[in-house]
């Protein structure tokens, strides 16, 4: 006994459109999947857009072929060219602007980060400086520092985070009778992406503050 069949009749015209749609989905979707990069998403988006542009060119050529008049075909191709040119310009402009905004935000974060390090580390050393009696013989700065900041250990962070996500750290990098150096680090982009900070991470800001008997000096490592 023959199994029942279902026959769907569609016009040739609609079948052609469906084939073009299917081809477009396969070509453009395939390009998207092949170039997929969850980190550098612009590479994926741009590759897919290029595939879309090439598909559009072929599509327009096919649907404007004779017997469509030359005048209409030229007008259609000119409109498509203008659309693609504007589309490419707008697209590139948006990519460039968003990347520029990203760089700007990270730049601002670096400036703010260095300012925060300065304003938070200085009081730790000023407190040590103020604890030294005016008329003193020889005072060990290192000992004074440990009196003011008990538990501070050379090479490790002695700052307690003040809020969830607080990334500022104070690391004692020098502790002697004559000098105390505190290095401040934060999660903000520095000038040199290869610079390795005292915590072993690369590319981040780092400043140092040094207390001696002459006073407090400072510098920016990155």
């Amino acid at each position: 006994m023959a199994s029942p069949t279902i026959t769907i009749e569609i016009s040739r015209e609609i079948a052609v459109v469906l084939v073009w749609i299917l081809a477009g989905v396969i070509i453009i979707g395939g390009t998207f999947i092949a170039s997929y990069d969850a980190v550098d998403h612009w590479a994926t988006v741009n590759a897919t857009s290029l595939a879309g542009a090439l598909y559009l060119g072929a599509l327009t050529g096919a649907f404007l072929r004779p017997p469509v008049s030359n005048r209409v075909r030229l007008a259609g191709l000119a409109f498509l060219a203008a659309l693609m040119a504007t589309g490419a310009y707008g697209w590139r402009s948006m990519e460039e602007t968003s990347r520029w905004q990203r760089g700007l935000l990270l730049d601002i974060r670096s400036t703010i980060g260095r300012g925060i390090l300065m304003r938070t580390i200085l009081p730790t050393l000023e407190a040590v400086e103020e604890s030294i009696p005016r008329r003193h013989g020889s005072t060990s700065l290192g000992r004074r520092f440990l009196d003011v900041h008990p538990g501070a250990v050379v090479g490790s962070n002695f700052r307690t985070p003040e809020w969830k996500g607080d990334s500022v750290q104070f690391v004692v990098t020098e502790l002697s009778d004559t000098a105390v150096t505190v290095t401040g680090i934060d999660i903000a982009r520095g000038w040199d992406s290869d610079f390795r900070n005292v915590a072993g991470r690369t590319g981040l800001i780092q400043t140092w503050y040094r207390l001696t008997k002459e006073g407090i000096s400072y510098g920016i490592d990155n």
């Binding site: 969850a38 612009w42 988006v45 005048r71 659309l83 589309g87 402009s93 968003s98 400036t111």
Partner: protein, 268 residues
């Protein structure tokens, strides 16, 4: 004998019909933009955020740009930037497909049929659907690009001002550090003995590439004034450096209190 009417689109009709189509489409884009901006744009509502992304699917380049900015904000907050989520990737792909592989074949097929064979009931629907899918992106591109360029110029100008102000604050903080050290040192050891009297600004701190600094000391109060050497607006814009405006940053410090800053001009 029945007569038939030739409903094929004639070349002479195309300019008028194209003009009407553009006007209608522009109105439609404005309505869609209004709906997106006012109905689905509440940033505090996570479900509306999703609806906003879905509503933006026709603008895959805007979704991609939004992801770039979102990642930058995460890095700004100290978090590790998130990778592109499958939902966002699907929306971007859907946006590109709807414009190119779905909308354009329907639109072009409708137009070809209209040119060669005349009107048919489904053609108008096909043309509208095709135009909505393909044209929504294309028509918004022109004004969006112009607005984007203007927005970038404004942002660059404001960020230039903010950047120079932040740098001047950092420089003044360094000056206050040196001045406080001077005030703490005994008078016999080149210090102020508890006051700022006699404090002279070291030459290395008197001038940076952006500003000059001067100090005025009166016992336990020191006033630091920073004056611009460049126009801050030129920092991030392509504009050539203009004469520096008369904006100032002023800092008043005492030995025991945090610095107090005041600003003039566009630094306020």
């Amino acid at each position: 004998m029945a007569s038939t009417t030739d409903t094929r689109l004639r070349s002479s009709e195309i300019p008028r019909r194209s003009a009407w189509t553009l006007v209608t489409a522009a109105a439609l884009v404005l309505v869609m933009a209004f709906v997106r901006a006012n109905v689905v744009s509440d940033p505090m509502d996570p479900e509306r955020q999703i609806a906003r992304q879905v509503g933006m699917f026709q603008y895959p380049h805007a979704l991609a740009a939004g992801l770039t900015i979102a990642r930058a904000l995460e890095e700004f907050s100290g978090k590790h930037p998130q990778a592109m989520t499958p939902r966002l990737a699907s929306l971007i792909l859907l946006g590109i497909l709807s414009t190119t592989a779905i909308g354009m074949p329907i639109l072009l097929a409708s137009m070809r049929r209209r040119l060669l064979e005349g009107r048919a009931p489904f053609l108008r629907i096909g043309a509208i659907v095709g135009f909505l899918l393909a044209g929504g992106w294309a028509l918004s591109l022109f004004p969006a690009t112009i607005l984007q360029r203007q927005g970038r110029a404004t942002l660059a100008s404001n960020q230039g001002i903010q950047r120079v102000r932040d740098e001047m604050i950092n420089s003044m903080t360094e000056i206050s550090l040196v001045a406080r050290g001077y005030a703490r040192r005994p008078a016999g050891k080149n210090g102020g003995g508890g006051t700022f009297d006699g404090f002279a600004l070291p030459s290395r701190l008197q001038r940076t590439t952006r500003a000059t600094y001067e100090v005025s000391a009166q016992e336990t109060t020191l006033v630091i004034t920073g004056r611009l050497l460049i126009d801050p607006v030129s920092v991030f814009t392509a504009a050539p450096e203009l004469p520096a405006p008369d904006w100032t940053v002023r800092c008043i410090i005492t030995p025991s209190r945090d610095p107090k800053f005041t600003y003039t001009g566009r630094f306020e």
